[in-house]
């Protein structure tokens, strides 16, 4: 069934179909059902193409093509490796789920400018795939900027004062760090190596002639700093404020873009830079990564601590995302195979878990227009399906089996042990405990406490969110459980990049 299209053709299609979808959505402005139909059809096609690509990649192929050479040696080029294929499948698959959810949410809250909303989403998914499939830093940078610009209208969707302020912070930080720090990092890489291609084993690690840079040189630290802070989408503290600011957007935007596509593009880039630009062994041989390891660890704890103080459910989830993203950064900066594998698994696991949480938060808002946790007391008995889905997602974030989120934590601890950073154990455990406090407590109070008077609901009976909001949340919630049992194929798929399978086979089976 997958032989209909060559993987190269599938890549072309998956990058071009969203643009056709964009025009289709624009033309169907006056007919909402057709418009959403176009979005869903586009989503299904893109997802199918992403799977074709992933199947080819798992068979050892590295499909790719060149679009244009800008300057000799500097081209817009695509090539897929397992990490990118995984990100492509996650992004395009969850886009379909999110599109279903958007229908329920946007109609349920009677948002304006829905056509623009779906158009921007189409560009965003195209740039997410562009990031996933890019073969070099230049191509990555182009789509990174397109993603920033295309999501700006989504963040400012409500067009009120709060949305404009949030949008200003969003664009200011993301554009600022990317032009001010990431671009210099890329140019410096180009100046040192004469290329920006992602190379397995690391560009700086070099080939037979040995590394292109001294492992202990301060230049490595400078470069790593430019990358780590320049990839603002990874929300490493202190570059994180754009993420809470982006929460003024409608919930589908927060659910998909600010829990999956945008932030995952950031940490995905972090992993790619460490694995393909520096090289795991190269970084392990120097001292530069340690600083960022501890910064990420600080980020995990500090963001969790802030999350505990937030009464607004979406802000709480945003800070939780900041914290969880730093898991991936920790995985990258550990500079071990197991750390990289853990970081990659976290991308998948957190995407499913956090999206569930956001969709539940949105469902509560659609049904009862409540966004403050203090208003949600007793609501669980009225909306049990929403709240149970939330609890499943929360357990995954906390890292409880049988939810997918337990694997990355396990692998990160293993990686930390390999790297000799046992203190990371404590950080991860403390983070889990804080997750329990700020994610589970409000949900349990939703079931235990008396109904909040601000809800103005009668006792007895259900008051659930629309089905379009509920079903997608359950899809991802079940997804976290499924992924727990199917972690082995995922790790085997990533094996060519991370190389952690040998160590893991004792746990997940040979």
């Amino acid at each position: 069934m997958f032989s209909l299209l060559s993987p190269e053709l599938a890549m072309y299609v998956s990058l071009i179909v969203p643009i056709f979808g964009l025009f289709g959505i624009m033309l169907a402005d006056k007919a909402p059902n057709v418009r959403e139909g176009v979005t869903l059809v586009t989503g299904v096609i893109v997802f199918y193409m992403a799977i074709i690509v992933a199947v080819a990649v798992s068979g050892g192929a590295r499909p790719g093509f060149e679009v244009a050479e800008i300057i000799p040696g500097l081209a817009i080029r695509f090539e897929v490796e397992p990490l990118g294929a995984m990100f492509g499948v996650i992004a395009s698959g969850l886009w379909i789920v999110n599109s279903l959810y958007s229908i329920g949410y946007m109609r349920g809250t009677h948002e304006k400018h829905q056509t623009r909303f779906y158009m921007c989403f189409a560009i965003a998914i195209m740039s997410a795939l562009g990031i996933a499939y890019s073969a070099n830093l230049l191509t990555f940078f182009i789509f990174y900027e397109v993603l920033t610009l295309s999501t700006f209208p989504l963040v400012t969707h409500k067009e009120n004062e709060a949305a404009r302020n949030g949008g200003r912070i969003y664009l200011g930080i993301l554009l600022g760090t990317s032009i001010g720090l990431l671009l210099p990092a890329i140019v410096l890489t180009w100046v040192i190596t004469g290329t920006t291609e992602f190379t397995l084993g690391g560009l700086f690690a070099g080939g037979a002639d040995g590394p292109l840079l001294m492992m202990t040189s301060p230049v490595v630290f400078v470069l790593l700093a430019l990358f780590a802070f320049g990839i603002g989408k990874a929300a490493l503290m202190p570059i994180h404020p754009w993420l809470p600011a982006a929460m003024v957007a409608p919930t589908p935007v927060s659910a998909f873009l600010h829990a999956v596509a945008v932030v995952k593009a950031g940490v995905f880039a972090m992993l790619k830079v460490v694995i393909f630009i520096f090289g795991i062994d190269f970084l392990a041989g120097g001292w530069a990564a340690d600083f960022f390891l501890w910064l990420a660890a600080f980020s995990v704890l500090a963001a969790s601590a802030i999350a505990m103080t937030q009464d607004n459910l979406k802000s709480r989830l945003a800070f939780s995302t900041v914290s969880q993203l730093s898991y991936v950064t920790i995985g990258a900066m550990l500079a071990t195979s197991m750390g990289a594998a853990g970081g990659a698994a976290q991308i998948a696991a957190h995407a499913l878990g956090k999206m569930t949480l956001f969709m539940c938060a949105g469902a509560i808002y659609v049904a009862h227009h409540k966004s403050l946790i203090s208003d949600m007391r007793g609501l669980g008995r009225k909306m049990p399906f929403t709240f149970i889905a939330f609890i499943i997602g929360a357990c995954s974030i906390i890292g409880l089996p049988p939810m997918a989120g337990s694997w990355p934590k396990f692998m990160l601890m293993w990686g930390a042990a390999d790297a000799g950073h046992q203190l990371i154990f404590l950080v991860l455990i403390a983070s889990s405990l804080m997750n329990i406090v700020y994610l589970l407590t409000p949900m349990l109070r939703g079931f235990m406490d008396p109904l909040s008077p601000s809800l103005k609901l009668e006792k007895g009976g259900l008051a659930e969110a629309p089905l379009f909001c509920l079903v997608p949340a359950w899809i991802t919630a079940i997804g976290t459980i499924v992924l727990f049992f199917y972690i082995k194929p995922l790790l085997a798929f990533l094996e060519p990049v991370t190389g952690a399978m040998g160590q893991l086979s004792a746990v997940v089976g040979g």
Partner: protein
């Protein structure tokens, strides 16, 4: 070396507009002068393209005016020589190319902003200005540079003053420009005089030969006078004060034309004098290079910062031009092939961005009547083509990928990483990034007004700008994207041109 069959080609870019200009004055006001000027610009553009191709294939062209070349046994020519290598062929093509798009654009804008009876005089002055800019670029004679510089400057003063029908402040702006421009020209001619005193020649290549090894106070003073004089015409911070008002109150088509060509030609003159005439053997050159790095960075920040707070979009863009000149000076100050190439690339790319931006503002002035920020509120709904053209070229100015601005930033950063200057390379690169962010802020302000601000309630409905203006503007906007993918013209030509310039500068005179 001349191109076979086209021996007289090098003189045509100057002679065609020069002869055409007085004829324009005789025409009836209205379409005729405009159509004539447009035709002239197109023909001139073709000649410059042929020249560029000729130089690319066959190497530099020397053309002795009136056949007054060097007599037997002598190296220095008797008369004026035109000397065309890749550096000036590129700038020539740029100037003529911009003219061939801006001249057709000008029709409706000029009809609405200038007294109908003055149109023949307007196009005459425009063609003379065009002649001057091309002449400055093409000539290989130092004094001839001054002559053409004044031809272009004097006609520019008149053109700026013609904005007075819309806004009387154009008169003071023009007068200011006249005073400052004349001081600059005086400085320049004093410098040339000192060099002539020291060497007895005015031909640039000959000057280079004669100046080799000479480094006394007189030559140094001559150098300083020349650089300062051009610095004034170039609007190098802190000699920039004439520029914002001149660009702001000039007729819109003139702002677009000048912003894209005039300062670019001055950058070329600086390159020519620094590297072809003086060269690295001239130890005093380092003083200028160090000054440029400081002044360039100062300009990048000061002017961008001022631009953020302007209320008039034309003035904001004018300050942005001053800031962009800072990038070009920075590139020159590295004194490397990469740096000079980056500077030339930015000369080309910035011309495309600023032409498109000023043309967009011209459309707004035509339909809404003024260029304050309030005119741009909700423009994306009122004039979508204009608004999106402005946004794309604005992104190019910021340096977003898929636009030429990105190529400029990339090459400049690349060059900065590879230099040894008084400021550490990484710091320079971060400063370039930071100053791009200031550009992002003022362009963001414009985009914000156009996209997110509501249309004023009392605003009368407006039509889009006429097709002619929209099409010409979009040619420029698309050029901003096209030359991102097609960097042969910019990066390819500019790198070879910079190589040639620096080879002369290092004393390998014949290594073109």
């Amino acid at each position: 070396m001349a191109i076979p069959g086209l021996e007289q080609l090098p003189v045509l870019p100057v002679v065609i507009p020069l002869v055409a200009a007085p004829l324009t004055l005789l025409m009836k006001p209205g379409r005729a002068p405009w159509a004539w000027a447009t035709l002239v610009s197109w023909v001139t553009f073709v000649t410059t393209l042929l020249l560029l191709e000729g130089v690319w294939v066959n190497g530099p062209i020397e053309y002795a005016m009136g056949g007054w070349g060097a007599p037997d046994g002598m190296t220095a020519p008797l008369g004026i020589t035109y000397y065309i290598d890749l550096a000036n062929a590129l700038v020539l093509t740029l100037v003529a190319g911009i003219a061939s798009v801006v001249f057709p654009y000008a029709y409706y804008s000029v009809e609405s902003e200038i007294d109908h009876r003055q149109t023949p005089a307007f196009y005459t002055a425009l063609l003379i200005c065009f002649t001057g800019l091309l002449g400055v670029t093409i000539t290989g004679d130092a004094f001839n540079v001054f002559v053409f510089l004044e031809i272009s400057s004097l006609s520019t003063y008149a053109l700026v003053a013609m904005g007075a029908r819309n806004d009387r402040r154009a008169l003071t702006a023009s007068f200011n420009y006249l005073v400052m421009g004349t001081i600059g020209a005086t400085f320049f001619v004093i410098g040339i005089g000192l060099l002539y005193q020291a060497t007895g020649t005015l031909n640039m290549l000959d000057l280079h030969q004669q100046l080799m090894g000479q480094s006394n106070r007189m030559v140094e003073a001559g150098f300083a006078f020349i650089i300062t004089g051009i610095g004034l015409k170039l609007a190098m911070v802190p000699l920039h004060l004439w520029l914002p008002n001149a660009y702001c109150y000039a007729p819109s088509a003139i702002s677009a034309f000048l912003a894209a060509t005039a300062t670019k030609v001055q950058v070329y003159i600086i390159l020519r004098f620094m590297f072809t005439v003086f060269g690295f053997e001239f130890a005093f050159l380092d003083v200028a290079l160090n000054a440029f790095i400081i002044l360039g960075i100062a300009g990048m920040f000061y002017a961008s910062f001022v631009a953020v707070f302007r209320d008039n979009v034309k003035q904001m863009l004018a300050y942005s031009s001053i800031a962009q000149i800072g990038y070009m000076l920075l590139g020159i100050s590295f004194g490397t092939v990469d740096g000079v190439a980056a500077s030339l690339i930015h000369v080309f790319n910035h011309a495309l961005m600023k032409a498109a931006l000023f043309m967009g503002v011209g459309c707004v002035v035509l339909r809404i009547g003024y260029s304050n920020f309030s005119a741009f509120n909700g423009l994306a709904k009122r004039m979508p083509w204009t608004a999106w053209g402005l946004i794309i070229s604005g992104l190019s100015l910021v340096g977003v990928p898929l636009t030429v601005g990105f190529i400029s930033k990339w090459k400049l950063m690349e060059a900065a990483f590879q230099t040894q200057t008084i400021i550490p390379p990484l710091l320079i690169v971060l400063l370039i990034g930071a100053s791009s962010l200031l550009a992002a802020i003022y362009i963001g302000r414009l985009a914000y007004a156009m996209l997110l601000q509501p249309v004023p309630e009392d605003a009368e409905p407006v039509k889009e700008a006429p097709h002619l203006m929209r099409i010409t503007m979009w040619i420029m906007v698309l050029a901003n994207i096209w030359f991102f993918f097609q960097t042969d013209v910019t990066v390819g030509v500019a790198t070879r041109a910079a190589q040639a310039l620096l080879d002369t500068g290092l004393g390998y005179g014949g290594a073109y």
